[in-house]
C-alpha cells in the first residue's frame, strides 16, 4: 500500500498524470489479447489524455466492446405503479473489461447491476430492453455481514458454493474453500474452528463474500458498493484486492460506487447514471478530467480534494530533526 503511494508520488515528479495512463494501458493490453483486434478505439485516447475534448467526446460515443460478453441494451426497469427506476440504459463489456457505474443515491446504478445478475428485488420488473450474456456472473455486495448467512460458519458457506458450482464432494470443496480464503488473505484460524459472520470484522466478511463470488469462477464480477460500509484502510485493501484479482484471474468487472475516485482506480471505463438514465460513459480519465455532461461536472467538482502528502521515507530524509513537534 505504501509502496503504491511512493510509486505514485515518484511518478508525479516526471509526468503529472503518471499513474493513470499506465493503468489504462494495462487494461488495453488485456483487452487486445482477448479480443484479438489490435488498437481498440475506445481505449486509445485514454493513453494520451492531452487530446482535445471534442475528439474525446467523439470517441466516447462509439464505446462498445468489440467482442462483448455482456450487452445491456436499452434496459428499462419499473415498479408496479409504472414509474421507471432505470430507463434506456445501454452498455457492453468485453472479456477482462472493467466498467465503473457511478451516481448518487436513487440513480438506479444498483438496480442495473441486479438486472445484470438476473435477480431483481421483488416489486421491480424489466419492462424494456434486455440483458444479454452467456457467461457466469457473481456478485459482491455492499453490506458484507448481511450478505452472509448469520447461522452458518463462513468456511462452510464458501465450501457450499464450491461444491455446487464446481461439482466437488464435501471434502474437496472444503479444501478448495480454504485455499480460496488463503488467497484472499484470511487468517488460518478459520481452518481450525468454526467462525460465524458476526465474529469477523467487516473487511474479513467482505473477503468471504469475494471468496463466495470467486468460487463461482465468474467471467463477470459484479460489485455493488463493496467498500462503502468499510473503514478507509480496509477499503483500500479491498480495492487493491479486487484490482489484483481482476488482473490475475482476468474476469470482467462491473463496479457500482458513488465514489468517483474509487471507480477511476478500479475501472478503465466509467458510466455516470442520474435518475435512472445513463448520462455519460467513456474511459475513466476522460470522464473525470473532461466531463461533458453538466451532472458529471458537478459530481467531479463535489469531490473534496486532498493535498499530496510527503511519504514516510522522503519525510525522514528531508527533516529527520523535527520528529516530535506537535
Amino acid at each position: 500500500m505504501s509502496e503504491r503511494e511512493t510509486a505514485a508520488a515518484a511518478g508525479k515528479n516526471g509526468a503529472k498524470i503518471g499513474t493513470e495512463p499506465r493503468r489504462v494501458e494495462e487494461a488495453n493490453a488485456v483487452h487486445n489479447s482477448n479480443s484479438g483486434t489490435p488498437g481498440n478505439a475506445e481505449a486509445r485516447p485514454a493513453g494520451r489524455p492531452e487530446i482535445p475534448t471534442a475528439t474525446a467526446a467523439a470517441q466516447v460515443r462509439t464505446t462498445a466492446a468489440a467482442d462483448p460478453i455482456l450487452v445491456v441494451d436499452r434496459l428499462t426497469l419499473s415498479v408496479a405503479s409504472g414509474q421507471n427506476l432505470v430507463q434506456d440504459v445501454s452498455f457492453s463489456l468485453g472479456r477482462g473489461d472493467s466498467l465503473g457505474i457511478v451516481g448518487e443515491s436513487g440513480s438506479g446504478k444498483s438496480l442495473t447491476l441486479r438486472a445484470v445478475l438476473g435477480l431483481l428485488p421483488s416489486g421491480v420488473k424489466r419492462t424494456g430492453g434486455e440483458v444479454r450474456h452467456t457467461v457466469r456472473s457473481a456478485m459482491v455486495f455492499q453490506d458484507p455481514r448481511g450478505a452472509l448467512d448469520p447461522l452458518c460458519p463462513v468456511v462452510k458457506q464458501v465450501a457450499e458454493v464450491v461444491r455446487y458450482r464446481q461439482g466437488k464432494n464435501r471434502r474437496e470443496a472444503r479444501a478448495e474453500a480454504l485455499k480460496l480464503l488463503g488467497l484472499l488473505g484470511l487468517p488460518d484460524s478459520l481452518k481450525r474452528e468454526d467462525r460465524y459472520p458476526n465474529q469477523l470484522s467487516g473487511g474479513q466478511c467482505q473477503r468471504i463474500v469475494i471468496a463466495l463470488a470467486l468460487a463461482c469462477r465468474p467471467d463477470i464480477l459484479l460489485c455493488d458498493e463493496p467498500t462503502t460500509a468499510l473503514d478507509v484502510t480496509v477499503q483500500r485493501q479491498i480495492i487493491d484486492l479486487i484490482a489484483r484479482l481482476q488482473r490475475e484471474l482476468g474476469f470482467a468487472l462491473v463496479f457500482v460506487t458513488h465514489n468517483l475516485a474509487i471507480a477511476a482506480e478500479v475501472c478503465t471505463r466509467i458510466a455516470v447514471m442520474r435518475q435512472g438514465r445513463l448520462v455519460e460513459e467513456g474511459p475513466s480519465v476522460d470522464v473525470l478530467v473532461r466531463p461533458r455532461d453538466p451532472y458529471t461536472q458537478m459530481l467531479v467538482e463535489a469531490v473534496l480534494p486532498l493535498p499530496e502528502f510527503v511519504s514516510e521515507s522522503e519525510d525522514r530524509t528531508r527533516d529527520s530533526g523535527e520528529g516530535g513537534t506537535r
Partner: protein
C-alpha cells in the same frame, strides 16, 4: 476492533451462562408461585362448597359444618393458605384429595402418561404440518396455494377447540368410521390409534398461528441480502430454502411455540373431555365439579411447572442454536 473485542467482552463481565440460567430459574419460580397463589384464591372465591358436594343435597347443616371442620375449610382464608404452603413446601405436594383421600400426586401420576402422549403427538403434528404449509406458502407467495393456506388460519382461528373435536368425531368417527369416537385403545398401537383424532384436534388449534409466523419470517429472510448472495451463487433453491432460510426463520416461531404451549396444554385438557379420554383433563373437570381443591391446585401447579420448564428449554435451545447470542455469554 474485532481483534480486541472478544477478549474485551470477556473482561467486561457479561453474565456467564449459569448466571443467566439462575435468573431464568428464579423467574420461573416466581411464575409458578404466582400461578399457585392465584389458583388457590380463585377457586375459593368461586361459589360452591366441597363439603356440600360430598355429602349431597340432603345433608344436614351440622354434618356439613363437621366435614368443613375436618377439611379445614372453616379456617380463615389466610390460615388455609399458610397450611397449603406448609404441605406444599414440606411434602412437595398439595395434599390428599378431599373426595377420594388419595394423594394428589398419585392421582396425577395415574392420569399423566396419556395426556403427555397426547401433547407430544399434537406438538409433532403441529410442527410437521406447519412446516410444510409455511414452506409451501412462502415459496408460492401471492399465488393460489399461498392464498389458500392463508385463508385456512383465518377460518380456523375462530373455531373453538372442542367444536373442531366434535366435527372431527362426526366426520371421521361417525360417518367414515376411520377412527374410534372416544376412549383409549388397548396396547401401544391401539393407544396411538385412538389418540390420532384428539391429537389432530389439538394440533389444529396451533397450526394457524405457527404457519402465519413461520411464513412471515421466511418471506423476510427470503428477501434478505444473504439469500440474494446464495441465489447469485446459483445454489440450488432447495438447499437455500432448507439449509439457510428455514434455519434463520425458525427461531421466532420456536419462541412463539413456547409461548403458545400453555394454550396447547389447555386445549389438550378440553379435548380429552370431548373424546372421553381419562387423562389429566378429565381429572381436572371432575375435581372442579366436586370442588376438590387440592387436586385442582395440584394440576395447576404441575401444568405451570411444565409450561415454565418447557419454555425455558426452548429458550436454551434457541440460545444454543444462534451463534450471535452465544457471543454475548
Amino acid at each position: 476492533m474485532t481483534k480486541t473485542s472478544p477478549t474485551a467482552r470477556r473482561k467486561a463481565g457479561f453474565p456467564p451462562s449459569y448466571r443467566w440460567l439462575a435468573i431464568a430459574a428464579l423467574r420461573a419460580l416466581i411464575v409458578i408461585a404466582c400461578v399457585t397463589t392465584a389458583v388457590f384464591f380463585l377457586i375459593r372465591i368461586v361459589p360452591g362448597d366441597p363439603a356440600k358436594m360430598i355429602l349431597g343435597e340432603y345433608a344436614t347443616a351440622e354434618s356439613i359444618a363437621a366435614l368443613r371442620r375436618t377439611l379445614g375449610l372453616d379456617l380463615p382464608l389466610w390460615e388455609q393458605f399458610v397450611r397449603f404452603l406448609h404441605t406444599l413446601l414440606t411434602q412437595g405436594d398439595t395434599g390428599l384429595s378431599i373426595v377420594s383421600g388419595v394423594p394428589v400426586r398419585q392421582l396425577i401420576a395415574e392420569r399423566a402418561p396419556v395426556t403427555l402422549l397426547l401433547i407430544a403427538l399434537a406438538c409433532l403434528l403441529a410442527a410437521a404440518v406447519s412446516l410444510v404449509l409455511a414452506v409451501v406458502a412462502a415459496t408460492n407467495k401471492d399465488k393460489l396455494l399461498d392464498h389458500l393456506i392463508r385463508i385456512f388460519p383465518a377460518i380456523t382461528l375462530g373455531m373453538p377447540v372442542f367444536w373442531v373435536g366434535l366435527l372431527l368425531i362426526l366426520l371421521f368417527g361417525v360417518h367414515l368410521r376411520w377412527f374410534p369416537v372416544g376412549g383409549i385403545g388397548e396396547g401401544w398401537t391401539g393407544m396411538l390409534y385412538s389418540l390420532a383424532l384428539p391429537a389432530i384436534t389439538v394440533a389444529f388449534s396451533q397450526i394457524p398461528t405457527l404457519v402465519r409466523s413461520l411464513r412471515a419470517q421466511m418471506l423476510e429472510v427470503l428477501e434478505s441480502d444473504f439469500v440474494v448472495t446464495l441465489r447469485a451463487a446459483r445454489i440450488p433453491r432447495r438447499v437455500i430454502l432448507f439449509k439457510h432460510v428455514l434455519r434463520n426463520s425458525a427461531m421466532p416461531t420456536l419462541m412463539l411455540f413456547g409461548v403458545n404451549l400453555s394454550y396447547l396444554i389447555g386445549g389438550t385438557l378440553v379435548v380429552e373431555q370431548v373424546f372421553g379420554i381419562k387423562g389429566i383433563g378429565s381429572l381436572l373437570f371432575t375435581s372442579i365439579s366436586s370442588r376438590d381443591f387440592p387436586v385442582i391446585q395440584g394440576i395447576a401447579l404441575y401444568c405451570a411447572f411444565a409450561v415454565v420448564v418447557i419454555g425455558l428449554l426452548i429458550e436454551i435451545a434457541a440460545w444454543r442454536l444462534d451463534p450471535r447470542t452465544k457471543e454475548k455469554r
